[in-house]
Symmetry: C2
Subunit: 307 residues, 2 copies
DNA sequence: TGGGGACATAAACTGGATTTATGAGCAACG
DNA sequence: CGTTGCTCATAAATCCAGTTTATGTCCCCA
């Protein structure tokens, strides 16, 4: 077990190895503006503060990030790469912020949204971010639940616009399809199915124990319907995350929304298994009380979700 | 311009509105372990510190995240959602960390990788993360450049394994295809092309001024080859990010790797424009000096990049 | 050759997070 | 029915990291 050669910190927690969000944001500003001072001004700090922050980031990473000259600062090659990676962190943080803001407000919001879990988790933060950039003054509140609670919120006028992912539209609501989602079968790369050359037929899928969400979840409903109520659970878990983790660890094949596993597929922690003879497609819909066509901020948000 | 109703901070910088990475990491640990104290232990801090950190995060976000009981802590519904969003931030930070670690090249690294920009930017951090989870003791160093510099590194034995995205394999190297990439045409949703129903024919693409990377970049080479050297630049920019930003702002159609625009497409900041009559596909390849088949850590990494 | 922009350095300040040291609620077990 | 052991909360002292203020240096340009 070769120990750290250059005084490596063998700590857990990445938080000590990654600059904080403020520093990453500053780096992005420097990249964009080409000057430490200008970046500092934009973020409302003084120039020495920016200088020292960048410097300590360079010390922490062990890489020179910016070439300082008396005439401005440019990123080094490594700095450009680091900045690109940093941008992804900051974007994720911005999505977090947009979601969290919406979760806070309750009564006095101008736009009250109710969404089912998968949409709230994967899609909504992005939409809220886009909405904020177009209409910065729109205060949004978010309530997450399942299709039933979304319908209740809308019908009791506690929400202005809803998003659901089920098979059918709850009664009393009008809807429009905003996107298509597919449930997909995934396994760890080590699973035997990952080496198959031919798709898994429906009957085999139905007879194989699968890692599944609990009965009653939208995902499970679609799968049961597609297989004719036959899905055999190997384990039932109550969150998408738990299902993913279980599949990654090689426990067996899992069925999940493709929205949930983009990252895992692209870094090969999971492998998509083709299936034939079943349609696991489902529509993602925006919904509103029959007749009350969305207007104002609701219409605005709706238009962001479609091409 | 209705001002903030609930004492809203109209500040810039999201860093002040988003809990720091340590707090997000702590939240994930609490979610996983079901106890503040256990999470604190895992992260090497004391229980009161964890308690106060979570509490101040709840105060900052204005949302209750965990239900504390004398018998442990469970996430609230909102807390579960926040945790899912937090996970994405932490994962981006982990990728950042993996990349940054590799950038501070040290002579004594066990695996020296040279990669072209697109791969280094979008794919490599994920691979390094996966590699670290399998072989925690493998010290990796990364050198980013273009196809030519990658070849030079390999041939002068300054790198053990390379990744290139060009059309051809540099002489003196063996290679294997590890993935396929497509250049795609994108515009802002407001662009006239976004409303077309039929694909854009090759001739029209060739005769339309486009937002492009500079001549010499891998992306540009592929496009020029596909169009027969005819691509007409509207602007030439030196980074993928600049091209994206320009396209998002509506300046015109841009041509980019699909790897670069996943996020933008899914939140509709950009729209993919179908094209016909040109093949903009390109292979992503792992390369190594002819004969020197990758072994050890290099083989390990290579196997992570393929199905 | 002086002005202005951009970055560096030094010292004092400030605030938030951490630790240490407790207290209190609940459950299981003998 | 108390004891033990887990949980989380609170209070006070400590400590460190980032910031500001106040300069200094370098370079370009007029």
């Amino acid at each position: 077990m070769s120990n750290g050669e250059t005084g490596e910190q063998r700590e857990g927690s990445i938080a000590h190895r990654v600059p904080d969000l403020g520093a990453l944001e500053l780096l992005l500003a420097v990249a964009r503006l080409g000057s430490l001072g200008a970046a500092a001004r934009e973020l409302g700090i003084t120039q020495p503060a920016a200088s020292s922050r960048i410097r300590s980031m360079e010390r922490q990473l062990g890489v020179a990030l910016v070439d300082r000259s008396p005439r401005g600062s440019r990123l080094t090659d490594s700095g450009a790469l680091v900045t690109d990676w940093a941008r992804r962190v900051v974007e994720a943080a911005a999505a977090f912020d947009a979601g969290a803001q919406a979760l806070r407000h309750r009564r006095d919001s101008r736009l009250r949204v109710a969404a089912s879990m998968t949409i709230a988790e994967y899609l909504l933060p992005g939409w809220l971010l886009a909405l904020r950039s177009q209409r910065p003054d729109t205060a949004v509140s978010l309530l997450a639940g399942n299709s039933t609670t979304v319908a209740e919120q809308l019908l009791s006028d506690e929400a202005d616009l809803g998003f659901v992912e089920g098979l059918s539209v709850p009664p009393g609501l009008d809807s429009t399809v905003i996107a298509h989602d597919h449930l997909i079968v995934v396994t760890a790369p080590t699973h035997p199915w990952a080496r198959r050359r031919r798709p898994v037929p429906a009957e085999e899928l139905a007879s194989t124990p699968l890692i599944l969400r609990e009965k009653g979840s939208g995902t499970r409903q679609v799968l049961d319907a597609a297989l004719g109520g036959l899905a055999r659970p190997l384990i039932e878990l109550s969150s998408t995350t738990a299902v993913k983790a279980s599949a990654v660890s090689g426990a067996g094949p899992a069925v999940l929304s493709e929205l949930a596993v983009g990252e895992e597929l692209s870094m090969r922690r999971l492998v998509r298994i083709p299936v034939e003879g079943v349609s696991l497609a489902r529509d993602l819909r925006a919904v509103w009380p029959t007749g009350h066509r969305p207007t104002g901020p609701a219409r605005e948000l709706l238009s962001l979700t479609r091409g």
